[in-house]
Amino acid sequence: MNATVALRIERQDGAHGFDDPAVPGDWTIEAVTARAVPKLRYPKTDVSSGKPLRYSMLHDGVELPRDQTVGTVFPKRRARVHVVHEYVNAGR
């Protein structure tokens, strides 16, 4: 049987967040992140370019590898994580 992980997933500013008490342990970080984005009320596309935005998951201030599984990354089976994305500032 595949163990599950309880995650508290929040946006960087804390404006939106949710608890998922049973994330399948064999899901990748990439898959969990992708599923979290709409629940966190994040945009899917970059309004400037129209291209899809790419999000990352952080735990304890460290960006998690996208290809690792939840069960591997969270051996304690419980964690609070943030989903964030990069942004550009430009002076030209």
Binding site: Q12, Y42, S48, G61, Y87, V88, N89, G91, R92
Partner: protein, 357 residues
């Protein structure tokens, strides 16, 4: 911007059909022979939703901490293109439990101008055209859509007396007193020195984020923003004209968050005005400036369309600020930009510096 709060609770209709009344907005953009259409997601409009909630709090229509839902509805219709309404404005309706309408705030089409300009610049860059003289036309279209109302939760803002805070503070410029009053802690000023050194030594832009405590002066009906601490981002990718704050760069900032009390995140970056010629390591014409065409040494402090769009989409809270530190050969200029009640961005005319604690 026009803001129309409902005057009395008794006048507020109930919105049992709230989930079916929303619209989806699009922005058709035309620039120099190229066209595109921006499909606005509800998340692109979060700054409007949150601005409407803060207006409602200011006007006494909503209590901080009370959860409401926002939906976009048409404002003034300019003309009708078949099933598509071409709008002069849109509105945000805030709905409380049971579909009660808390308030309705109207926003002009221009609230999306930066999005249209940013897409226009991308169109021109893709076409290999210069951005020197850019003519942009854009419309605001509304399509009926079944949109789930967008949850908006404003933290339970504590009372903060502006009079008590200003008693020992020093004014820089003429601090605004019409919506949000901004205070800067000494630690932030020390952080400015550090990021200036870093940026000058590297010859590249540098970025950081600021923790800010926020509150509400109930007597004066004004919001309070206290910029407490600057955390300089290490995981950035920067040139002389751009700085990318990577996903990993959030790590230090979030780890440094104490999490006590209502807060709003703000952000800061440097602009290098050190050259007599146009800084040249970006993509030509990839950014359109509203005031100054370049970062020349003789230019004025400026803000780019890219900066504005980043602020609108990544920092949608009305109490979030954007700080730009313009570094000239012989001086440093700090500009603070904050939201208006109409969800536009303005340069704050001043701020208060708090004494050391």
């Amino acid at each position: 911007m026009s803001s129309t709060s409902m005057s009395t609770p008794a006048a507020r209709p109930h919105r049992a059909d709230a989930a079916t009344r929303g619209v989806r907005l699009t922005l058709p953009v035309h620039a120099a022979g190229s066209t595109a259409e921006i499909e606005l997601e509800p998340a692109h409009c979060e700054r409007l939703f949150r601005a409407a909630a803060y207006v409602a709090i200011r006007d006494g229509d909503l209590r901080p901490g009370e959860e409401v839902f926002a939906q976009l509805v048409p404002g003034r219709t300019r003309e009708q293109h078949g099933p598509v309404r071409c709008l002069d404005s849109c509105a945000v309706e805030l709905l409380a439990a049971g579909g009660r309408l808390v308030t309705r705030v109207e926003f002009p089409r221009a609230v999306f101008a930066a999005f249209a300009a940013a897409r226009a610049v991308h169109l021109l860059v893709a076409a290999g055209q210069a951005v020197e003289t850019l003519s942009i036309a854009y419309s605001l279209h509304a399509l009926d859509a079944v949109e789930e109302p967008f949850p908006v939760e404003i933290p339970a803002l504590r009372h903060r007396s502006i009079a008590a805070l200003t008693r020992r503070a020093v004014a820089h410029g003429t601090p605004a007193d019409d919506w949000v009053v901004t205070f800067v802690a000494p630690d932030v000023l020390a952080g400015l020195d550090a990021i200036e050194r870093l940026s000058r030594e590297s010859g590249a832009e540098a970025a950081g984020r600021l923790h800010a405590r926020v509150g509400f002066d109930r007597a004066r009906r004004r919001f309070v923003r206290i910029l407490e601490r600057l955390v300089i981002s290490r995981a950035t990718s920067a040139t002389g004209t751009t700085v990318v704050s990577t996903a990993a760069s959030w790590g230090d900032f979030l780890a440094a968050s104490t999490g006590r009390g209502p807060r709003a995140f703000s952000h800061l970056h440097t602009h290098l005005h050190l050259s007599d010629t146009t800084a040249g390591d970006g993509v030509p014409g990839d950014h359109l400036l509203s005031a100054s065409p370049t970062l020349r040494a003789e230019g004025d402090p400026c803000v780019s369309i890219e900066d504005i769009v980043t602020h609108f989409t990544v920092f949608p809270d009305p109490l979030s600020a954007m700080l730009i530190v313009s570094l000239f050969r012989d001086r440093r200029v700090l500009k603070v930009y904050g939201y208006t009640p109409g969800a536009a961005l303005r340069e704050e005319p001043g701020y208060w510096v708090l004494p050391p604690t």
